[in-house]
């Protein structure tokens, strides 16, 4: 009986010997979490992860695997009886698909026989299948050095035929590297920063500072869309929406115009630290890139970073805008980020913000805000949305 499978190859997981079992479990959970409602099973055998599925779900499952961190590559596999005529007819069917997909005419057959009790040797199997394909599909030619496609055959407890390999996103499986809190705005950078940490296996929680009526409902919806898009990569993303207007009002009331942006960032960092304490996140993640704007100079980052005991991960710090945009396009957040709903009103972006803040002076300015109570109140009013 023929069954359809995806054979999933994982890279770094295998290197982490002692944790491998746990990692494989989280990879499996991650694939499962990605496909709620679909009928499939994930199992591990011979240090490989297989996903078994009914034929009509091939597309959905393939799409999910390309977005599952920890997957290096995967390929479609047919599991068939250990019988040479079954292998031959399956190989013809598979080759038909390769030819129809325009994959080319030069091929080779590669066989591995893990179970030596099978009556034919690897070489004999390759020859028989190769000859059959040449006979069935005139125009095909064997090329063992630079084939357009390879017919892979494995003989184990069953026989397996593999299709071409499809790249996965690499990285580590979702949830295998602790939990971080992402400061998510509606911009291009922060979703990319979250994606990069998720790629390293981090569970992502995100926080958005909403300042109605200075920021619009559309801006909030945009951030929700971004969180939903990220959840396609890292299922179960949480978004905390913080009513931040009272904090903004306090800053505008007490601070000099040029200090507004930095003090706002400092308040966000302080708030995020409180929130992380409550939710168990072990680090903060931001989309800052060195020198991109006034609040992202090393002096500014030193200042805002001093408002938390937690490590602040800034995965984009050494990247150019173009590089960030390339990733944003790849992960499908770019178009949403590019929507024109300004998430931070012009009022809070002074014309001449500080670029090299004096740390001591700014600390004093922050002290004059007396925002601790306001931050605690905002924490109590924070909404939680799970994607």
């Amino acid at each position: 009986m023929t069954e359809l499978l995806f054979l999933v190859k994982y890279g770094e997981i295998a290197l982490k010997k002692r944790n491998r079992g746990a990692f494989v479990k989280s990879l499996k959970d991650s694939i499962r979490a990605k496909l709620p409602g679909l009928q499939f099973s994930v199992y591990e055998t011979f240090h490989r992860v297989f996903v078994r599925f009914p034929p009509e779900q091939e597309k959905a499952i393939s799409a999910a695997l390309t977005r599952t961190f920890g997957v290096v590559s995967f390929c479609k596999a047919l599991q068939i009886e250990r019988d040479i005529s079954a292998i031959e007819s399956a190989a013809v069917g598979l080759a038909e698909g390769f030819i129809a997909a325009g994959m080319g005419k030069k091929f080779k057959v590669e066989t591995r026989r893990a179970d030596k009790s099978f009556p034919l040797s690897s070489y004999e199997i390759s020859c028989r299948v190769g000859e059959l394909l040449l006979e069935r599909f005139p125009g095909l030619g064997v090329d063992v050095h630079t084939p357009d496609w390879v017919m892979n055959i494995e003989i184990r407890e069953h026989a397996y035929l593999y299709g071409p390999s499809i790249d996965g996103p690499y990285g580590l499986p979702n949830g295998s590297s602790g939990k971080g809190l992402l400061l998510l705005s509606g911009g291009i950078d922060s979703p990319v920063a979250g994606w990069m940490m998720a790629k390293r296996g981090m569970t992502i929680e995100s926080v958005y500072f909403h300042s109605a009526p200075f920021t619009s409902e559309k801006a909030r919806e945009k951030v929700e869309t971004l969180a939903r898009t990220l959840s396609g990569w890292a299922p179960g993303i949480v978004l905390f929406v913080v009513p931040f207007t009272p904090v903004l009002a306090r800053i505008k009331e007490k601070a000099m115009d040029e200090e507004v942006t930095l003090l706002l960032r400092a308040c966000m960092t302080s708030f995020a630290t409180l929130l992380a304490e409550r939710s168990g996140a072990m680090c903060l993640i931001t989309g800052e890139s060195l020198g991109q704007v006034a609040s992202q100079t090393v002096e500014s980052m030193a200042f805002t970073g001093s408002f938390t005991e937690l490590p602040v991960f800034r995965p984009l710090v050494g990247m150019n805008k173009e590089e960030i945009i390339t990733i944003a396009r790849k992960i499908d957040t770019f178009e949403t980020s590019n929507l024109p709903y300004a998430d931070c009103c012009v009022l809070f972006s002074p014309a001449h913000p500080l670029i090299r803040p004096n740390q001591r002076k700014m600390k004093l300015s922050f002290g004059h805000l007396h925002v601790e109570t306001l931050l605690r109140e905002a924490l109590e009013k924070t909404e939680k949305v799970t994607f």
Partner: protein, 405 residues
């Protein structure tokens, strides 16, 4: 939103439809569904209805039925007359003459942007700036006319400030210039915000073409009209089945046309009475706004009761440096629907074109909100909006102003 009552004060963007107009559209949709061009009995009946409507709509405007072309709305009407220049300009693919349009800096984007796009086709245009009071000086417009000018397009009522333009003055200077030079200049007006709201006579104004929209007067979306004076026959660009005497091909939107006509007649019938009520409401609104600290009325020259110079149906104000969208969101959260400067352009970055052309700074221009009212607007609704603004503006304004530099 929690069952909160909504007060609609965004009539200039789209007016609530008149129930009579909707009933008429429904009845006509069901009964006279045949194509008005078809020769069979139902088709003929639809065709007759269409011509009745044309006569009735022409009656509202005091013009001849054959001078009315039904379109899909104000934008298409404006586009059709402006794009007709392309036909004339490059007839047979050969540029015959220099073609120039004189217009204003305060036109709706369907005129302003269309003219900019025509520049790419060699049709030049000049945009005369208004005076600080929002009205374009006919003399300034006269100064912009030159040998190549073939069309002048000036709106009747500005959709952002309500400023009524001196169309009669405009037509007069154009006719004088034209007579001296011996070449015809078409005078077009975008009258979308004027129909049913301010009294005017196309004949007396002496304009050649005028654009109208159905949904701004309580008709339906997707229908409008272009008045085209007899013997003003620029070639039209759209080709098709020859409907509207070849000027606007496409199966006629009979239900929409009926709804627009019914609504227009109703507005005309009650024009003076509605206008008196609108004047009172505008007075109340401007008076109340002026009492809020930090409020500006745009243009600042506008008096509380200034119906000769401003449409009482549109009031523009602001609380600089508070951005307009903040005020709009605040009002929305209180159940009041108002808009930033102009609803059509509120999503665009260049939405400050009109207020800036009147001499306002960019920051002040960004603060411009528009409250637009209609026949069923009540004094209580205006009071409600003012109460909400009185309560919520001061704290927002103090946040916006901040401590300063």
């Amino acid at each position: 939103m929690g069952g909160q009552e909504t007060t609609y004060l965004d009539w200039a963007a789209s007016a609530p439809p008149e129930p009579d107009a909707v009933d008429e559209a429904r009845e006509v949709s069901l009964r006279l569904f045949a194509n008005p061009s078809s020769p069979h009995a139902p088709g003929r009946e639809a065709g007759e209805k269409l011509e009745q409507m044309r006569s009735r709509f022409a009656g509202v405007l005091g013009v001849e039925a054959r001078e009315i072309v039904f379109t899909s709305g104000g934008t298409e009407s404006n586009g059709a007359i402006l794009l007709s220049l392309l036909h004339r300009h490059r007839l047979g693919g050969v540029q015959r003459q220099k073609t120039r349009v004189v217009s204003t800096a305060i036109e709706h984007s369907s005129v302003y942007e269309q003219l900019h796009s025509l520049q790419g086709h060699g049709i030049t245009s000049a945009f005369v700036a208004p005076r600080p009071n929002g009205a374009v000086d006919p003399q300034a417009l006269a100064d912009a006319l030159d040998e190549d000018t073939v069309m002048v397009s000036v709106m009747m009522v500005n959709n952002e400030t309500g400023a009524v333009q001196d169309l009669e003055g405009v037509a007069r200077v154009v006719r004088d210039f034209s007579a001296r030079r011996g070449r015809k200049i078409i005078v077009h007006t975008d009258a979308v915000q004027a129909l049913g709201k301010i009294p005017f006579s196309l004949r007396q104004l002496d304009v050649d073409a005028a654009s109208f929209s159905g949904h701004k007067i309580g008709g339906l979306r997707g229908v409008g009209a272009l008045f085209l004076r007899e013997n003003t026959a620029p070639g039209f660009l759209s080709m098709g089945g020859g409907q509207e005497r070849g000027r606007r091909p496409g199966t006629e939107n009979l239900p929409g046309i009926c709804a627009m006509t019914v609504a227009a007649e109703k507005r005309l019938l009650h024009l003076e009475q509605d206008r008196a009520a609108a004047r009172e409401n505008a007075r109340l609104l401007i008076h109340g706004l002026r009492e809020i600290k930090g409020a500006w009325i745009f243009p600042s020259a506008r008096e509380e009761d200034d119906a000769a110079r401003y449409s009482p149906y549109i009031v523009s104000a602001g609380f600089p440096p508070l951005p307009a969208e903040v005020v709009v969101r605040m009002a929305d959260s209180r159940g009041y629907c108002i808009s930033t400067g102009s609803a059509c352009s509120s999503k665009k970055k260049d939405r400050t074109r009109v207020p800036e052309s009147m001499g306002l700074s960019h920051e002040t221009a960004l603060s411009a909100i528009r409250v637009s009212i209609g026949p069923s607007t009540t004094a209580a609704q205006i009071d409600g909006l003012l109460a909400a603004l009185r309560q919520d503006i001061p704290p927002l304004l103090s946040i916006a102003q901040g401590r300063g530099a």
